[in-house]
Symmetry: C2
Subunit: 438 residues, 2 copies
Amino acid sequence: MKKNIVRPDILPGFMELLPRGQILFNNMLDIIKKNYESFGFLPIDTPIIEKSEVLLAKAGGETEKQIYRFEKGKNDLSLRFDLTVPLARYVAKHQSELSFPFKRYQIGKVYRGEKPQKGRYREFYQCDIDIIGSEKLSLINDAEIPAVIYSIFKELDLGKFTIKLNNRKILNGIYEEYGIENKAEVMRVIDKLEKIGEEKVEKELLDMNLSNNTVKKLLDFIMIKGTNNEILGKLKALKVQNELFNNGLKEIEDVVKYIRAFGVDEDSFTIDLTIARGLDYYTGTVYETFLDDYPKIGSMCSGGRYDNLAGYYTKSKLPGVGVAIGLTRLFYQLQQAELIKNSNDVLIKALIVTFDEKDMNYAINVSNQLRENDIVTQVYCENKKINKKFDYANKLNIPYVIIIGDDEVKDKKVSIKCMETGEQKTVALSEAIEILTV
Amino acid sequence: MKKNIVRPDILPGFMELLPRGQILFNNMLDIIKKNYESFGFLPIDTPIIEKSEVLLAKAGGETEKQIYRFEKGKNDLSLRFDLTVPLARYVAKHQSELSFPFKRYQIGKVYRGEKPQKGRYREFYQCDIDIIGSEKLSLINDAEIPAVIYSIFKELDLGKFTIKLNNRKILNGIYEEYGIENKAEVMRVIDKLEKIGEEKVEKELLDMNLSNNTVKKLLDFIMIKGTNNEILGKLKALKVQNELFNNGLKEIEDVVKYIRAFGVDEDSFTIDLTIARGLDYYTGTVYETFLDDYPKIGSMCSGGRYDNLAGYYTKSKLPGVGVAIGLTRLFYQLQQAELIKNSNDVLIKALIVTFDEKDMNYAINVSNQLRENDIVTQVYCENKKINKKFDYANKLNIPYVIIIGDDEVKDKKVSIKCMETGEQKTVALSEAIEILTV
């Protein structure tokens, strides 16, 4: 009846963690979720499989090639490749039942058949928030998004980070002012500044038939640095006449004001005129977030403001602003940089062991009471030597072992051993609960 | 540039909830997860896409037809159709890095291309726990599983429920005792008792060429009722000589003893000899769980003990015991039976509204302080009439609105309105926090 042994492999480009890694991953996921909710973002959960005609209404080029697309019966199906297209479809579908502004978060897996390489995944978690307005959406929302990012990365405790923001109207306005026509392409080149450096950007811009003078002005412009107030001052001092530019400047000034109101440290956000976000659907504020000491990790969290979310599915105008954390890739990068604190992988607080199965009833009873006190507890049920039971606690990084022997049963006590210090004492259960609750 | 409007539909057989429903769904998910963890089950997360040769190593017949299977490049891929096969593959793959007994939970979506019908989904959540031993696994684990189920369904607060348990050795033993050869088929028929009734079961058994006398004895046997102790007494009184039967009887006796030790109410679990679990990989204890007043919902949570988890992927013998909750279907059924308490859909505790945008700074500051006190708070940022803002709170079922006007700003106070009672008062922020923390 038994077949041959099949190699239990998974596909390349798919992340699968051991339980200790999974606990750390889930801790991050929980922090993100809790912070999203704390600002009033509501959960949604869309199907992973959708009709290809719906998911690919907009896609094309590189994205389309990466899609997992297949037929089942007569249906042409695709796996979602981000959470933005499903959001657009969701809002269009349920428009009459939703209240606007519609603040939603979604955390889930998405699929892209990219060439697998280090840190690139074909299945990965996206953690998205967006605020969608009906017809209009206040600029204050553009300031709330960085406030959410700020509270998340503070709690993740990965070291000093900076939320960089810019406004596409400022960029498009200055291009107009400087007489640059192929704006989208220029923006794509500038967006690479962090990656390829100033010299190469200059060269690429010159290759685009921009005059030396224009390229110089452009580079001077995007290199404007200083405190947020200094940058705002310098931008004003340019006395640009272009209306789009001035709208953008007014917007970023307001956004900065409200970011401060949300209590974000001045140290943790900065206007950065090099941030462009290559994708062309952003129309106003754009964001990227970096660890100050690990710029190579790249942006941990990016997004921005767009004019119209769901034009492919509805005639209603639905402006929005949002941001996404690509958690799978980020987790990989943080592990590589050794920024994940492995000591946080404790889930089970106490392992209960007996010398003999006859004491199991008492041991189980102790476990019930620990759980009633919200202490995650495992009873070790197997008939093994006591050393093996301690090994097990060590391997699972369980901080306390509770030992039940005949004396403990007779005296209605427990012995509790701290695995880090080796200290062991026999105490009343209430005292053990106190130790475990610290 | 804009294409035609695409209908924003999803595929039949896929559940997609509005945010209020999603909050209720997530509440259930969180309760399940918390209880799984509280017993020391560790999280894992396996890919949704795996190699077909791996996922389908065992499958065949009905299951194989339902698989979402496709090619991408040169790879033959399938979407997982349960979480048990991925667990088997996971344990075989990571065997040397895991500690046994390996207690894991996994909550995730699985895919079956079933004919869509009411309450049947093609994409649905499974919430699984399993305890896997290396070579051996103590029977106490068979008692812990019902203890976990018990703590979950108590907390879910869906009304009186009963965990029914049986042991396949008892069934197989009694078949041997009665000289029945086609055990698997008989078990499948008996498993339908709840669905089709005693008469039809009797007829189907007679159609299988069993003698009248055998069928009568068999039906008498599975109809043995009473308290757990009475049933155990009656089973012993049968004085069956068959060894398998007597092993099973000893097992279920021990399992009952330990279930009691875990503090499960005698009222909430019962030996039920009609429970067989049609699938043939169970070898010992089997479970099903029903709501006493809603038997039509069917088993909410089923599982059992198996001898060898991963024979297709490894030569190691890995016995286990586990249980699964099919949450998507269960949620649908509970909604149909109106057992989901809609009042639990509150996520946002307070909505902050202003009469004028100039008070926004103060409003945002209030929101920061509420969030610091773990109160989920949304600031209403749009420039709308005050009535619209209250409508918004009502639609989202937000229990309190905090109103900021010029007086509140001047006096450093807030006005807080309870949306249920309509009561409104102007208080210090600390007092509002107290009201919101209750």
